[in-house]
Amino acid sequence: MDHDDFILRMEQICKRFPGVQALDNVTFRVARGEIHALVGENGAGKSTLMKILTGAIPRDSGQIILRGQEIEIDSPGRAQQLGISMIHQELALIPYLNVGQNIYLGREPGGPLPGLINWPQLYSQAREQLARLNMDLDPLTAVADLPIAQQQMVEVAKALSFNADIIVMDEPTSALTERETETLFEVMRTLKAQGVTIIFISHRLEEVFEVADRVTVLRDGRLIGVAPISEVSMDDVVRMMVGRELGEMYPKQEVSRQDVVLRVRGLTRGNDLRGVSLELHRGEILGIAGLVGAGRTPLARALFGIDPVERGEIWVDGQPARINSPHAAIRLGLGFVPEDRKEQGLFLGMAVRENITIGILDRFSVLGFPRFRELDRLAESYVRQLDIRTPSLRQRMRNLSGGNQQKVVIARWLTLHPKVLILDEPTRGIDVGAKAEIHALMNRLAGEGVGIIMISSELPEILGISDRILVMRQGQIVGEFSRQEATQDAIMLCAAGGKGNAN
C-alpha cells in the first residue's frame, strides 16, 4: 500500500510510564475507509496508543501524520477538531437528557437571543445524524430509557456530529447481546461505505474476523504484526498476541492433591452466573481465566456472599453452607481480595495497623476493648513477614505504594487464617517485584493447605501459578485444563468462544 492511501499514520510512537515501557517504537497505519482491528492482551498497549491518538495523554516521541500532514494532538478537543472521535467502553452520556440533547451537549445551535437554544434545529440535525446510521430513533427519547446498544448508537451519532471521519471504538461489544452486536456491525459497515474509518478494539477474535478488514497486533508495547484478515487465521493471531514462552517468572511448587475444601453446584445469578459448579482442593491454586464480563468477578462475589444467588449450593469442608453475607463467609473460613483495592479493599485514611487488624478486632478484644498492644505486635509480624514497606504502623494507608497496599489487604486475610482465599486480579497495576512476592506468598499459603482461587486476566500469570485452570465465558465454565495440558492458545480460544476442552 502506498503511503498516500493511509488516512492516519502513527510512526515510531514511544511512551514510558514509571516502571514500564508502555509503547516501544510502535507504528500504526490505517487506510482510508477501512475497519481496522487493534488487538493484544491486557497491557499490550492498545489503550495507551489510542489515548495518544485522541489527545488524552502526550507521547514521548514519534510522529502522527493525518491526511499527509504531520500534526500535534494535545487535547481531546483538538482530536475532535481533527475529525478523530473515540467511543469508550464506558458510555459517557447523560441519562436524564434526551438523545438530541446528548448529541449536541455544549454545542447547541443558538436561538434568536444569546443563551437561547434553537430546539427545532437541534432535533432536526440530530435526526439527520441518526438517519446516517439507518437508525429509527426519536431524538426526544431520554437516554436512560434506551438499551445499552442504542445508547452506543447515540455515541456514534455524537461522534459523527463532530464530522469525525476516524472513529475509535474501544470494546464496543462487551456489553451487547449477539443480536445487538450484529446491528452494531451493520452500522460499522454503513459508516465504512460512507468513507468513515473505524479503529476497532476487541478481545473477541471471532468478531474481529467477522467485521474487520485488517488487523494490527500489539504485545508488551511492541508492534508484532499487521495483516489483512483474509490472509491470517485465528490461530495465527492468537499466537502473535501471546507469543512468548513462559520464563522462570513463576516458580511453582508441586503440591499433592488433598481433600475438597470448597464444592459449588449450579450457582446461578441472572446472566452473570449460569449454573457454575466447581471443586477446590486444600492446597490447590485454581486459576480462573476468561474475558472481561465472562462472569469471573460475579462468581467471586457470590461465593463470598456479597451478591445473593438465585440457585446453587455450596459446601465448605463437606458441610452445606449458607453464605448470605461477607460476615457469614468469613465465619466459614473464606477470604476475598477484591479486584479494586482502593474502592473495595482499603481504608485509605486509616493506619496500616488498623487496615491489617480490622478483621480480627473482635477476637482480640475484651468486653469491646481491643488489646492494642497485641494488635500492634500482630500487625508488626505481618509487616515483617510480607516485607510491607512502611515507615511505621501508624502510617496512613494512602501513602503506601500499590504493591504494599495489596500486601496489606492480603495480610488482613492472613490474620484470619482462612481455609479458602479468593483473589480477584491480585497483581493488577502492581510492579514486577511486588508481583513476584505476591505469587511466592500464594505458593506458600497453598503449601500450608489453603485452597486458593485466583481470577486473572493475565494468561502468563494464570499458567504460571495455577495447579488447575477453569475458563469462563458468558456466566458458565466452558473449559478445564490441568497445569500440564494448558497453553495460552488453548485458553484464549476457549475464552473467546472457539473450540475448547469443554466438559
Partner: protein, 311 residues
C-alpha cells in the same frame, strides 16, 4: 482515632485552639463582663445541651451520615417525660422511659437508613417532622410545667461547686471519646466512614453499626432534652427547634469531615465551645439577634476555610 492522628490534624486542631483564643481575647477586650468566673461557668452550662447532642452527631457524621431529627427527638422525649412526671411516675422511671424513647426513635432512623435504604438526610428529615408533629399532638400545643424537684436537679443542681449539666456533659464526652478512640465499635465507625464497601468486605456487620450511631444520637438528644427541661422547669412542645443546626455546626467547625471517617470528639469539643462563646459574646455586646445569625454564619464559613487550607 487517638492512635492515628497525623501531623496535619494536629495542625488543624491547633488552628482551632488559636481561633478560639483569639475569639476569647477579642471578647475580653470588648466587654469587661466576659472574662469572669461566673460568665465562664455560664458559657459552659449553656454549651452542655449542644455539646451532648454534638457527641452523637459526631458519630453520625463520622459514618458519612447526618441526623436532622435531634431537635425534634429532644422535643418529643421532653414532653413525654414531663407528662409522665406529672402523672406521678418516679423520677428514675420517667427519665429512663424518655431515654429509651429517644433511643427507639434513633433506632427507627437507623432502620430506615440501613434496611429501607433511604439516604440519612431524607430519613432524618422525615423523623424531624414526625417527632415534632407528635410532640405538638401529644401536648395539644400546651407547655407542661411544674416538675418535681428531684427531676429539676438534673438541670439546676450542683455537685460541689459544679453545675449538674456540666458534670453530665463531661461524662458524655469522656464516654464518647473512650468509645471512639479505644473500643472496637469506635474503630468500626471510622472504618465504615472511610470505606463502607471495604468495611463490609472485611466482615464488619455494617448495618448494625450504622444503626447504632443513630440510636446513640437519639439517646443523647433525649438526655439533652431532660437537662434543658429540668433547668427551665417547663417542657414546650417546640423545644429544641433548630438545635440540629448548632450541633452540625459544632461538628464541622471541629473538623470532622462530612465525607466520613476523619475527625473526632476533640475537635467537636472545641467547636461546641467556639459556638457557645460566640453566642455568649454577642449577647454581652448587645448585638441584635438578627446580626447574631450573620456573625455565626461567617464564623462557620471561616472555620471550614481553615480546615480546607490545612488539608
Amino acid at each position: 482515632m487517638g492512635s492515628t492522628r497525623s501531623l496535619r490534624s494536629y495542625l488543624q486542631q491547633f488552628g482551632l485552639v488559636i481561633a478560639f483564643l483569639l475569639l476569647a481575647l477579642t471578647l475580653t477586650l470588648l466587654s469587661n463582663r466576659f472574662l469572669t468566673v461566673s460568665n465562664a461557668v455560664n458559657v459552659l452550662r449553656q454549651s452542655t445541651i449542644n455539646g451532648i447532642i454534638a457527641v452523637g452527631m459526631t458519630m453520625v457524621i463520622l459514618t458519612a451520615g447526618i441526623d436532622l431529627s435531634v431537635g425534634s427527638i429532644l422535643g418529643l422525649t421532653a414532653v413525654v417525660t414531663a407528662d409522665f412526671l406529672q402523672r406521678g411516675w418516679p423520677v428514675g422511671l420517667a427519665v429512663a422511659a424518655g431515654l429509651v424513647l429517644g433511643a427507639v426513635l434513633g433506632l427507627i432512623n437507623g432502620l430506615l437508613i440501613t434496611k429501607g435504604r433511604i439516604p440519612p438526610f431524607i430519613a432524618t428529615l422525615g423523623m424531624m417532622t414526625l417527632a415534632r408533629g407528635l410532640a405538638l399532638t401529644y401536648t395539644q400545643g400546651r407547655p407542661i410545667t411544674g416538675l418535681p424537684a428531684g427531676f429539676r436537679f438534673l438541670g439546676a443542681g450542683f455537685i460541689g461547686p459544679v453545675p449538674m449539666p456540666i458534670v453530665i456533659a463531661v461524662l458524655v464526652f469522656a464516654t464518647g471519646y473512650l468509645l471512639l478512640a479505644r473500643t472496637r465499635v469506635g474503630e468500626y465507625i471510622y472504618a465504615l466512614g472511610n470505606n463502607p464497601t471495604a468495611a463490609r468486605f472485611s466482615g464488619i456487620p455494617t448495618q448494625r453499626y450504622i444503626t447504632l450511631v443513630y440510636v446513640i444520637s437519639g439517646f443523647l438528644s433525649a438526655l439533652a432534652g431532660m437537662i434543658l427541661v429540668a433547668r427551665l422547669d417547663s417542657a414546650q412542645p417546640i423545644v429544641g427547634q433548630g438545635y440540629e443546626f448548632d450541633a452540625i455546626a459544632a461538628v464541622v467547625v471541629g473538623g470532622t469531615s462530612f465525607a466520613g471517617g476523619e475527625g473526632g470528639l476533640g475537635g467537636t469539643l472545641l467547636g461546641v465551645l467556639i459556638i457557645a462563646v460566640l453566642n455568649n459574646g454577642l449577647n454581652l455586646l448587645n448585638v441584635s439577634s438578627f446580626y447574631e445569625q450573620v456573625v455565626k454564619g461567617v464564623v462557620i464559613a471561616l472555620a471550614l476555610l481553615l480546615h480546607r487550607a490545612a488539608r
